[in-house]
């Protein structure tokens, strides 16, 4: 009966890729992973910090180094923001961390990939929009959606460094300080790219997601956002990670959706953005 995965995974690498941003590799004979899914890591076996920490799956490593969704390991991209991530950043290759996952729904790949040939008859252009650390789960998505365009918004050069791995994809960058790419917000780029046949996949800070969702709404296209929330269990049991669903959302008696088990990817119009 115990078949889902929670296990000690060995760290293969854990490197600072840009100031305070780390990329960690974990040995893990993974089940099939959907881009946008996440894992919950236990970074210590002390009781402080107590809870697991959620991280999007950045990459799946398979034996042949191909863009598979099944592999022998995963990579996470994380930023040191507090105690948990600091403890994680101090871990050395060879040490182990306790991984629970893969969790959540991920982006609806089949629907996105059917681009134009399906009954929705649109989605000819998938625009992947990442803000800061929100770029992490888009990498795996971009690997699968080779034809899409990746838009990145960040504060400056350090964050823009996160996009290096995306070479081979069409990528455009905006930075607030103008140090890399266009000066300004990523929504400026999105405005330029958005067309009636687009679909948007976005991940990043709430403020950015709100703006992205509004633009997509105006353009009348589907927008799939990956949300964050404080989490305890990651598996839909504690009901701690709730976000309010919007007018088009679920049944009246189910006003809240769980980011961990109903998401983290939601159709933007299912979210009550005012309540976020």
């Amino acid at each position: 009966m115990k078949n889902r995965i929670e296990r000690l995974c060995e760290i293969t690498h854990n490197k600072e890729v840009s100031s305070s941003y780390f990329r960690i590799g974990l040995k893990w004979q993974t089940p099939r992973i959907a881009p946008g899914q996440f894992v919950m890591l236990r970074v210590t076996d002390s009781l402080d910090p107590l809870l697991r920490r959620p991280f999007g799956i950045y990459n799946v490593i398979d034996a042949a180094g191909k863009a598979s969704l099944r592999g022998t390991g995963i990579e996470l991209l994380y930023k040191v923001v507090g105690r948990g991530t600091r403890i994680l950043s101090l871990k050395k290759p060879g040490e182990c961390v306790d991984v629970l996952g893969p969790l959540g729904n991920g982006w609806p790949l089949p629907r996105l990939l059917s681009s134009g040939k399906n009954r929705w008859g649109r989605h000819d252009k998938i625009i992947m929009t990442g803000g800061g650390m929100g770029i992490a789960p888009l990498y795996l998505l971009a690997k699968k959606i080779k034809t899409g365009v990746v838009l990145f918004g960040g504060k400056g050069r350090a964050e823009a460094g996160l996009t290096k791995a995306f070479k081979g994809h069409k990528i455009r960058i905006a930075t607030e300080d103008g140090s890399v790419g266009k000066k300004g917000f990523v929504t400026e780029l999105l405005k330029e790219e958005l067309g009636p046949d687009s679909a948007v996949c976005a991940c990043g800070p709430v403020g950015m997601l709100k703006a992205v969702a509004a633009l997509a709404d105006d353009a009348g296209v589907d927008c799939y956002v990956s949300l964050e929330s404080s989490m305890a269990c990651g598996i839909g049991a504690c009901l701690g990670c709730a976000v309010k669903s919007g007018a088009h959302g679920a049944a009246a008696n189910r006003d809240y959706r769980m980011v961990c088990s109903d998401g983290p990817v939601f159709l933007s119009r299912d979210i009550d953005w005012e309540a976020l």
């Binding site: 889902r4 929670e6 107590l50 697991r52 629970l100 404080s230 305890a232 701690g240 990670c241 709730a242």
Partner: protein
Amino acid sequence: MKKNAAASSALSTEIAGIKFQNPVMTASGTFGYGMEFGGYTDLNRLGAVVVKGLSLKPRAGNPGPRIVETPGGMLNAIGLQNVGVEVFLKEKLPLLKGLKCRVIANIFGETIEDYAELAKRLDNAEGLCAVEINISCPNVKKGGIVFGTDPIEAARVVHAVRRSTGLPVITKLSPNVTDIKVLVRAVEDAGTDAVSLINTLTGMAVDVERRRPVLAMSTGGLSGPAIRPVAVRMCWEAAKAARTPIIGMGGIVTASDALEFIIAGASAVQVGTASFIDPDAAVKVAAGIADYVKRHKTTVRELIGSLKTG
């Protein structure tokens, strides 16, 4: 891990005439409706699953943020979101059929009539072994009163539930009281078959940068290892005052933690917050108790209340 008949009976415990294969249950609100954990742990190795608190109607719960981590614990203000008793009976309970562990429904209402009505609906439900009454939830302020901090109101709830169901009734007490013994006596006099404790301690966390409470509801319930010393103390006091069996909980992570409660007087324990950290926690606690019982050549029944003081 095979257990022979002798070992398994060394682990068994009894509450209100119901026999449990081992004394480890999951705590309400921390284990969903059970199946959420199906892929991560072996439900057959639990004494019982206590499901998320049920109300008459489905409840949407509180706005977020609903949880925040604290030193050795967490605060929650879920707002008792649940699918409602009807959906539970139709869609959730049947999924647990055929499991070796027992199932206990946890209920709460906003009026005494709510509680009575809930108990009635659950009365003939196949697969339920008992009803646990949550009179201690600190999150829902509707109606104004917190049943669990007033012995008279607490007794009225228990009395109403008692008359409405043939199932054994467990009353779950709040730790936010001056004297737990008064509450124990009140709910026992009102006819409860067992007492479980502790629910969460009311707490608060402040986001000092924004100068706002972290939780949308301002306060929430503190759970996790941080509260264990308070929980063990209250269980001990309750057990000394009680005529009925005690189910102890609050911060249990390991078998040793669980044994503190049992030795202090609990006939069974519940594992709550620990299941978030490790979905297999409750099963590991049961396994650790089995080891202890074997190592000390004793039984769970002998351990209950075996604390020597003075």
